[in-house]
Amino acid sequence: MIAKLKRTYGSGIESLTYSGQNYMVVDRSLIPDILQILRNEEQFDYCVDITAVHYPKREKQFDVVWVLYSFPRNERIRVTTQIVDGEALSSSVPIWPGANWLEREVYDMFGIRFDGHPDLKRILLPDGWKGYPLRKDYSILQQDNEWVQINLGIESGQ
């Protein structure tokens, strides 16, 4: 499967295996096509998870990870891509409606935007919150002091 994809898209795809688990690193520009093909042709009909990893020292700061599963093939695969901070990805909600909240959470925690998402807003944190807590430069003790003071009427949430 990956070989086939590689033939079509060439060097944009890198296939890797770690601890018996397959994953592929895909160039950002190929992501919409690859996901669509995985869903429609390769029968990866279940989007298990979407998440991101922050590498502040890299130039392309974020890894965005899709965990996909195929019921007919009983196979799991991860698709990873690297993007620069501020870059937007196209939303995969049209492909898997279940990606809705998962993308919202990625946006909430990392500030990665998804174009074409029907309702991209914060999900776990309150709407007016500033900052993206799962970025590495966001300390574990940090909070949006202004929000806490205005909305909770206390000096600090800690």
């Binding site: 298990v48 998870d49 799962l134």
Partner: protein, 383 residues
Amino acid sequence: MADQNTLTHLDLETPEKPFLDANELVINMGPQHPATHGVLRVILRLDGEKVLGLECVIGYLHRGVEKIGENRTYTMFNPYVDRMDYVAAVSNGLGYCETVEKLLNVEAPPRAQYVRVILTELNRIASHQLWLGTHALDIGAITPLFYTFRDREEILKIYEKYCGARLTTHAFRIGGLQYETYNGFEADVQNFLNFFRPKIDEYEELLTTNRIWVERTKNVGKISAEDCIALGVTGPVLRASGVKWDIRKALPYANYKNFDFEIPTGQHGDTYDRYLVRMAEMRQSVRIIEQAIDAIPEGPIMAKVPKVMKPPAGEVYHSIEAPKGELGYFIVSDGSTQPYRLRVRPPSFVNLQALDLMCRGQLVADVIAVIGTLDIVLGEVDR
């Protein structure tokens, strides 16, 4: 595929017509509401009592578990996972320990595996019992709650005897178990099974053929198998829609491949089928525990793991079949003592997305039934 048209976004902030002027009514359910199982807030848009659409507002219980994970060592983080789905703490622990074991490339010894299966399946029963009690309570039957809590107590007693805790058990360690089973563990579990088998019949006697129960649950909150898969819904909800899929069978973990059990499925994907599927799952769990008790081997309970865990750099996604669905952990290691990134894929969070679809066109009273049947735990949704 879920019909995109039915899932259009609703502007709930500004209803088209002012309150009380016409049929449409926007009502806010929760975050303090007896039937939302915690601090779920649901904004309902109603036409009379018919639900036109709803939006979930979550995050009231957000504790930043994933951020904490990045700032704790692998061992230190282990107790935190118990606090996510606090109803099924053992399952959470199993998933986490197995994922880290995968990163470290170790495997728990057979005896530990068996004890893990026994405790996890007991946990599945306890979780389903709690679900049954609260679900029935939401629909108005108050008695099953007390029956299930009475029986769940017996499971909690076994946990307490084994590891000292009842709810947030922290029963497993990376690489196996911390404690050898206590004297009479097998007998206790066996006694529980003998005690519990007739109790399932008792629950079923109260509800399965109860006319009001059937009327309240049949054809309520229907969801098709395609919609389930498209929305990523897993666990008993998926199985009740007719998909025979259970990670224990599909991608076996622990030593589930050694056990003989069935995957109960439903056909209609309604609340009643989900009820039947969970009842059948309790019986299957009893079956698994019975086999495990008979086959439990002697031997070490802990694999060789270093005191200071430094998994090699890499990333691993591993998931287990928690009582609520697929519970996944995605851990990125950079070779240090702390995970570089720790992501939890909570079943409740993803399943909760289906609430909107399942409730449209139903009545307010059905929203309650559907929230109950999704079996969400807000500690896990919000993390």
